[in-house]
Structure formats: C-alpha cells, structure tokens
Amino acid sequence: MRYLFTLLLAAACLVPVMAKEARPLAEDEAVEQRLIVIAQDLRCLVCQNESLAGSRAELAEDLRREVREQIRAGKSDQEIKDYLVARYGNFVLYRPPLEATTILLWVGPFVLLLGAAAGLLIHVRGRARQGDAPLDEAQRAQAEKLLADISTKGPQ
C-alpha cells in the first residue's frame, strides 16, 4: 500500500515535467524586432499589396528566413535591402529610391499640385481683372423695378 502511494506520488510529480512548456514565438526577440522593422518596408512579390512582414506566402517566409539569417550574421539594414534589390529590383521596396526611372513617381504629385494651383491662380486673377459686367438697358430697368417693388411692398 505504501509502495503504491509512493509510486502515485512519483507519477504526480512527473506530470508538470511532462507538460510541454509553451515555446517562445521567436527564438531571438531582438532579431525578430529588427526583422519586422525591415520587412515592413519590403513588398511581398507574390501578393503584391502585402508587406514582407505580413505576408503568409511561402516565398515571403523564405525571404524572412533569409533576412533573419543576415541579421544574425550582423548585416546592416541597408545591406539586407541591397541584397533583396539586387535580386528582385526596386519593386521590393515600398519606398523606391529617387532615380531617373522613378522621378515621375516622386515628383509627379507635386507637379500636379503646382499645375492645379497655377491654373486656379490664373483663373481667379482673370476674373478679378474683368470686374463686374455692366448691366444693359433692359436689365437695369428690371433691377430698378424690383428695387422699387421691395421699397413699396416690403420683402415677401
């Protein structure tokens, strides 16, 4: 009886040991933090509207693995981005560099804004210069009649 009790006690002690501890999400917190920062600026090539940080595409997982390894190898953010640009082009960057081929992308909105502002300015100035158009004879008579009506009958 005592023997059985000891056995039960021993078994009970074993239970917590057998329960698996929840594994941390990432092996290395610092690496994972940097991975997220870098990957948020990178585009997943398979689902093009997702960042590399958020995509569940298999290629995105492979690229994250690659980035993770390069972080561990002590590469700088710029070196890691250059590595991906050399293979996939500027398309992987959400913020493409200012180059001859991307100049329209960067400057275009400002050119449009300036153009619209200039157009508006010219239009407003032109209207101001014209001033109020003088009334012709018939319009003047009509206006006088209306004013006379208001002063006798009062506003309706």
């Binding site: 090539l45 290629l59 492979d62 690659e66 293979r87 996939y88």
Partner: protein, 177 residues
C-alpha cells in the same frame, strides 16, 4: 469663345488619364523587370535530380547558350508549359536545364515519369535558396543565359509556342552567332 477653351483642359487631362489606364490594363502587374538581366547568372552547385552524387553548376555551360527553366511538381502552370518544353527539347537547339524549385525528388521524378522529361539535366533546389538568388517569385520562370554566362533574358510565367517562336528562338539565334 475663351470659356470654351477652358473646358478643353479637363477633357485633355481625362484623355491622358485614359491613356495611362489603357496601358495599365494591358500590362501584367506580376511581370516585374528583373535587375539580373545583363548580369552574370548567380553561381550555384546543386545536386542532380537524376544522380544526386553529381553536381550541376552554371560553369558547366560556359561557352554555350543555355536555358534554365525553374519548375516544380506542385506548380500548376508548369503543367501547361510542359508540352511546350518537350517540343522545344526535341529540336535539340540548346541545353535545357531544369531547376526543381522547392520540391521533393520523389514527386519530381514521378511528375517527369508521367509527363516526360524535356530537360538535359535537372538541379535540385530543395530549400529555394538558389531561387532567391535568381529572383524567382513565381514558377515557372525561364532564363536565357549567354556564352559568357550572363543572363540575357528572363521570361516570367509559362512559355507558350508563341513566346518560344517570337522571343526565345530569335534571341538564341542572335546569341549563338
């Protein structure tokens, strides 16, 4: 009269926008120009599918124009492309090398046994690392590599008889001379 001319500006802008949209409709957003075109084909040394103890490297093809076709047994469009490759390999023009991307050898072998093997040799890129070096983001992809080992052209998506006739063959002829 002056007022009417003003009205033409929005119309002109609209036509420009229409032009951009029309061009955008015709373009495939999945076709991203590769920065590797004109550069040396990334080096690798991978086991052969047919004989894993042997290794394949781009250096083996120095002095030849050759095609590297990235495929996988799990890739659906590769199945569409396959007859085109079989037909192409029958002509025996240039070496056609397969890069079996993120695949298992057993499944790749079964696939080839079922549909036929157009490849002169096949390199196994089991974890997809060489694929990353080549900027692969969707199989199938095909690279034309010249005699100096530079990537002359990259075709994204399945090859069709039209692509072979109009893009690949003229380029091979040009590079071979």
């Amino acid at each position: 009269m002056k007022k009417k001319r003003w009205l033409l500006i929005p119309l002109a802008l609209f036509l420009v926008l229409l032009g951009f949209l029309a061009v955008g409709l015709k373009r495939d957003p999945h076709e991203i120009p590769s920065p590797l075109v004109g550069k040396a084909a990334p080096n690798f040394s991978l086991p052969r599918l047919e004989a894993p103890e042997q290794r394949i490297s781009p250096a083996d093809f120095k002095g030849k124009v050759w095609l590297l076709n990235v495929w996988a047994s799990w890739c659906v469009s590769c199945r569409d492309e396959h007859p085109v490759l079989v037909e192409f390999s029958r002509r025996n023009l240039v070496p056609l090398v397969g890069l079996d991307y993120k695949d298992t050898p057993a499944e790749a072998q079964a696939w080839l046994a079922r549909f036929g093997n157009p490849y002169g040799m096949i390199a196994v890129d089991a974890d997809g690392r060489i694929g990353i070096d080549y900027g692969v983001y969707g199989v199938p992809e095909t690279y034309v590599i010249d005699k100096q080992g530079l990537i002359a052209h990259k075709h994204i998506g399945p090859l069709t008889p039209e692509v072979i006739e109009q893009e690949i063959l003229p380029l091979i002829r040009k590079l071979s001379t």
